[in-house]
Amino acid sequence: MGVAVPTASINLRNVGRTFGATRALANVDLDLKPGVTGLLGPNGAGKTTLLRLLATALPPSRGQLSVLGLDPGVPAERTSIRRQLGYQPQEVGFPRGFTAFAFVDYIALLKEWTEPPARHSEVRRVLGLVGLSDLGAKRIRAMSGGQRRRVALAQALLGSPAVLILDEPTTGVDPEQRVVLRTVLAEIARTSIVVLSTHQTEDVAALCERVVVLDRGRVRYDGPVTDLVRQAAGRVWLADEPDPAASVSWRTGTGRYRNVGARVRDGVEHIEPSLEDAYLLLRAGSWEHEPAGGVAS
């Protein structure tokens, strides 16, 4: 059962993780506090590996990892961490024949909710949080992808954990439910450390105070979302044709082209940059100038 820790933090110092000859993470330094931190990065950037480290599903190959002041390498401390942890992996396999209620109830049992009335009440609470109150008795195999995703999220929310690790929680979830889930996560993040990875930059923009961009196992940017977006000011413009000076161009719904370029362009129709623009810029190369707020490397 989750216990809120007022001075909760997760600290990584020079953390690395390899799988055989493949380096998934290298020299990661992070300090995570209560609030929502978004992880962005292309496929294979190391996001899932980092989340698995934070969730104690995987040990680091090198460096120091501390979760809530506890060392996950020590079995007793690892168990203490797990008592205060919620984790939604990228892929959740659901045992055959389980209903949503039965699955979340099963995970609640493993999380030491042994008293049936309190456990059932908690299972209903978390299913309600993810908008599945009326589908508790429905078999998971008969649910849509988005509903299954919400069942997976519900089990992570059991006990209002002090640390909530979510790997692509909104993938396949419809826009209305995504808004509901953002509200739920924002409320939890008032006292808990929430770390989520996603490919949806709008989720990060709407929910996260802080964003960490990973690329090939390294932290490329760590700082406030607003600062990252500010980096793209003057580098996003509309034109009737794709601009060869742009790093990325695409045709928008209006028929005009949105151009995002590494250099500040003059004499063009500038528009307000989005987080996606800033992220694409970061991916395309480095900025001309030193970042104003966060740390880009």
Binding site: A57, Y87, G93, F94, R96, F101, L110, P116
Partner: protein, 272 residues
Amino acid sequence: MTGWHLDDDALRRYVERTDSLTEGASAEQHLLSCEPCRARVNAAVDVIDLAAVWDRTRDAIEVPRPSVFERLLHAVGLPAHEARLVAVASAFRAVWLTGAAAILAFAALAAAFGHDHGVWLFLAVAPVVPCLVVASSYDPWMDPALEPELVTPYPALRLVLLRTIAVLALALPTVLVFGLVIPGDAPFGWLLPAVGFVAVVLAASTWVSPLRAAIAVSSAWLALVSLLAARFGSPDAIIQGRAQAGFLVLAAASFVIFILRRRQLRQLRPWG
């Protein structure tokens, strides 16, 4: 208006839905024509915890009913929550257990009526069934919720051992039943091989997946039994004391390896 009224106890039972079907129907009929009793029902409903009634209603719909196996585990002393943790494994679903029992029953019938060939068949099949059920009870391919399970505080090793013990506990009464229909020592001769193979599967699953281990052990055993059956007419080679002692040693050695390498179980391996 009728000449009688519901007494307090009957009214309470009606409101709480704890009355019998007949009594409830009678109360319902009376309430249709008795204004004072309807007023008393309204007053009584006010003091009922409607939230609790609603929770009970939802429990009846949503909470999974304990299977016969789960109730059995609880009856023999396992706490209710652990009985649930053991019994939810796919391997303990009624359909699997019925299938396993049917295979054993078929082999037992062959042993009862098929003389030595039947006994060979029984000795080939009976020991591999428990080891396949044990492997299925904690193999992630069967129950793939591995990662959410992995990061919970409940000890994975305890879960694996509880499920293993549950399978072996099912095997014992089976031996007693078979003892009634199969002549000779064959009904008892399969138990130690079964225990040995289960221990081998536990030990081997610190290197490979449990189901792969069980399939390898079962295949090796079936091949060995075929060879022995071809060479010796009588199944005494397996049932006799020396062979049985060998299975006991195999079980003990495998269990020691399992305990020494327990942190290499797939459920624990990341932190081994």
